[in-house]
Symmetry: C2
Subunit: 421 residues, 2 copies
């Protein structure tokens, strides 16, 4: 009997290592030709499944697939597309399963965050109800580190390493300049409503190598007076200060700090980054010269300085997903389970999707210092093994990494019916 | 006879490799104890000389000095401090020479850009006139790459590599997201009035790995209609676009693009970064979703991804400065002389400071494409060898590089007279 095919798709914002999980799925599937036929990827994520725009990964050489391990971005394209609830748009889910049925897809591997875990869960349920049961396994991925159950989310640790390293390097810069020039460096990082990425900035400072860093977490309502007093005192003591600010910081009234009431020449509200707002506030109120940076995509795409731990996690959750599915697993997410901080020990586990979907993991309260501006030892113990180790991509003669591009050859359509996602 | 001491100072904005030159100066001086006594460094650059705040580098171990080779920032502190003209403030120059005389300093090594070349020149001239001749050698350093005579300035190539790599990684991110979300990524880089750093963004795209990149150079007056038309066409053709914008871009009327007429809630003009202005313009006029990043200090401090060529240049100009001075050289700057692009061949030369001071090297006109939005093959041939090669710092168990901190022990004051620089 010909084995069933598998479907793999990437969802949401990319990470430096989402392609590492893709590499693991494809390499593991290739080792089980008796169990899995071809692996089709969704072009631009789940939208590719809805529109029957599938990519035939069997066209790619083993060497190309292996190179995904050191390539950032989303090799098959990702998407920001949340399926509506089953009640609201059952047709979307039915369409997915029709496409899967047409292409004899018996395995569904979905690599993403919270929303995609939910989609994965519903595909599993509905396929069963529609008489074409599909084993659906979710592979965790998000720089926001907000999936429950798993100890951490692949992608987060590399963003954390990038932010810790960038904070250290920029702090050495401002320290060098502070006697006669810039005294405060402000660094804006991602993380939405969670301070996981901002917390990583605190790792630039250690007992052996102290660096004066003030962190603004989205979990802590912004108190302008307390913040400015802290910056002033820090510059007074150390001569300079670095501020790591999360994009999602809000004032006590719930308003984003980035919404500082700026208007442009036409009177439109200007919602810029939060770093320039903080830098301007410091300069205006304390008189210090400031510099500011916004990392944006760089922090989630910097494969060149990815965490080796993260790369190993991302590969392991992808490989385990395929092995789980082959073994009959269904409606599960692969997870990272930590058993010790130092030396760091971890293994792969799994959790039912109903425990994952639509639940968010927040920073533990005891990860933030009582004053709200720093990280605790508990946070350091959590973060330390995650950012340890490097995993450099090979570089070419052009001075840049040998990041791979796939052919992404289309699979011939079978349904060939229009569908507007 | 006891050999004379040497003075070394770092000036202006730091680079990822200014400490590489410091390392070279100290290591080379230590190999010539018969010619050079101690090397004193200026704490916070030339300000340390004016205030007699000298650092005794002989207190640092060989191992520590060697670690400067992989450490960013300015190990002795830098400064933004331009000496006035000799006519305007002769007392400043006389003070310098008094301090040097008091500490028996016969060699002056100044590591910086244009202003410091000028200071170096005057110290040489005035010391002679004051009967205490000092051999003054300037060591080139600037990410802006605007010093004349030398083929390139140490520090530039690492910033260029960082910008090329970041542009590539972020472009892979936006390419992954563009089907359903962000279509344009805007990346702001340094360079003041010269497009050298912005040009490096163009290196992310090669014939084998084309990436749609639009560059905004300070040399090209900003034409909003032409720019928006180019972005629209690029997104139409490729599905996405990256824009690399130099901080110094101006409109045809000479006004900085960053000055877009935004005012805050109090009616004050908001002079933010140029990236958010460009991103907002694209979103407002073309409707594309955008993301933007500002590299700021990160691009000149990213020692972790420094160019190996740059590290070699920075070491060579430092070593040659000491060797030149020992051989009797004076009022010179060490230079990089290129003899071939591919394979890249270069050697160290030197140039009289009167040919350096107060002259700026601009981007050749034939480095920018006729449409004003890209780099030519001539530019590629120039840049290619500069960004080639990596030179990773060693990393520690904390997941971050083993960047070194010096003790920076003070030299006992001899003059001990107050001086307000």
């Amino acid at each position: 009997m010909t084995p069933q095919n598998a479907f793999y798709a990437q969802s949401g914002g990319v990470t430096a290592v989402i392609n590492v999980s893709a590499c693991a799925v494809l390499e593991t599937a290739r080792r089980h030709p008796d169990k899995i036929g071809k692996v089709y990827a969704g072009r631009n994520g789940i939208v590719g499944a809805l529109t029957e725009d599938l990519i035939d990964t069997s066209q790619e050489s083993d060497e190309t697939i292996a190179a995904l391990r050191h390539t950032p971005g989303a090799a098959f394209g990702s998407c920001r597309y949340k399926l509506k609830s089953l009640e609201e748009n059952r047709a979307q889910y039915e369409r997915l399963i029709e496409v899967f049925r047409a292409h004899n897809i018996g395995y569904f591997f979905y690599n993403g965050g919270n929303d995609s875990a939910d989609t994965c869960h519903k595909v599993s349920q509905l396929s069963e109800a529609m008489g074409f049961p599909i084993r659906a396994i979710h592979i965790p991925k998000t720089v926001d580190n907000d999936l429950p159950v798993t100890d951490c989310c692949p992608g987060y640790a590399s963003a954390a390493k990038y932010v810790a390293l960038s904070t250290l390097e920029a702090s050495m810069d401002v320290a060098s300049m502070s006697a006669t020039s810039t005294k405060v460096f402000v660094f804006e990082v991602m993380g939405r409503h969670a301070g996981w990425i901002a917390a990583a900035g605190g790792m630039a400072s250690t007992a052996k190598r102290p660096v004066p860093i003030v962190i603004l977490f989205p979990e802590v309502p912004f108190d302008q007076d307390a913040f400015l007093a802290r910056v002033k005192a820090t510059v007074g003591e150390h001569g300079y200060c670095s501020v790591v600010v999360s994009e999602g910081v809000r004032r006590a009234d719930g308003k984003f700090l980035a919404d500082a009431g700026y208007t442009d020449a036409f009177g439109h509200t200007q919602l810029g980054g939060v770093a320039p707002v903080v830098a301007r506030m410091i300069h205006g109120e304390l008189g210090f010269r400031t510099h500011w940076a916004v990392a944006d995509y760089l922090q989630r795409s910097a494969r060149h300085i990815a965490s080796r731990t993260d790369v190993e996690h991302a590969y392991a959750v992808g490989r385990a997903a395929v092995e789980l599915a082959i073994a009959g697993g269904n409606a599960l997410m692969t997870t990272i389970e930590r058993s010790a901080d130092d030396p760091y020990r971890w293994e792969i586990g799994s959790a039912p999707l109903e425990e994952i979907a639509n639940r968010e993991k927040h920073m533990p309260a005891d990860f933030i210092t009582a004053d709200g501006f720093g990280i605790t030892d508990a946070c350091r113990h959590y973060l330390q093994p995650l950012i340890r180790g490097e995993d450099y991509p090979p570089f070419a003669e052009d001075g840049l990494p040998r990041y791979v591009r796939l052919q992404n050859a289309p699979v011939a359509k079978i349904l060939n019916t229009p569908f507007e996602p």
